[in-house]
Symmetry: C2
Subunit: 130 residues, 2 copies
């Protein structure tokens, strides 16, 4: 991954590092920016680079391995594997709608304007349509 897409996390954001690593890698995996065959750095390497605990990275790698994205290697690296497309899952769209509404309401409650959130939603839709 060193010459490819970069994983960045923000240790001051209040979001647990584990969550940031899983979310960040999953975005790269879903988008294909990390393609099958790509080798991820060792757990130790990532831990040093990001300034987080070894176990945090190992747990994130395990989560993505359980989701079928990674094959863990001895020496604690990981390879992106060819993943069967998941079965189309209509319930996930319902779950998405619920979680999206909750997220929008939470952000509005904290001062994000409806107009700006609307723009973000449309931009995300456009990205998906590409």
């Amino acid at each position: 991954m060193s010459s490819g897409p970069t994983l960045r996390i923000d240790l001051d954001s209040g979001v647990p590092a584990y969550r940031q690593i899983v979310d960040g890698l999953r975005i790269l995996l879903v988008s294909g920016k990390l393609a099958p065959g790509s080798e991820l750095p060792s757990v130790r390497r990532i831990a040093v680079d990001l300034g987080v605990h070894f176990n945090t990275v190992a747990e994130a790698y395990r989560t993505l391995a359980e989701e079928g994205w990674l094959e863990l290697r001895h020496g604690r690296g990981a390879t992106v594997v060819e993943r069967d497309a998941p079965a189309a899952n209509a319930e996930k769209v319902t779950e998405f709608r619920r979680r999206l509404r909750a997220l929008v309401a939470e952000m509005q409650s904290q001062g994000a304007s409806a107009a700006k959130l609307s723009v973000e939603l449309r931009n995300a839709a456009i990205e998906l349509d590409l």
Copy 2:
């Protein structure tokens, strides 16, 4: 609230009841469906209606009181209060973008199609523009 909007939760969804109550009420509060002056039922009443523990509802009410939406009453009911509009917060839009991308990737990873998620995003944008 008994003659007004209804709070529903799904105890089988895997989402903690506390989270569902906070999210569900916040959506009603942000949208104005629960307007200032509205009286919410007692904690005990909601707990019985939803089939959850008293403390779960009490904690949800406290969270929304801390956010400035509710004033808790003796006898453990709550009143929706006039809330100062939160200061416009550009950082929240950045946080929203990050969390939205993570949510979209998670749902895609679990089998939701990009096309359907895109429709949901546009629908949510339209709701915000109303």
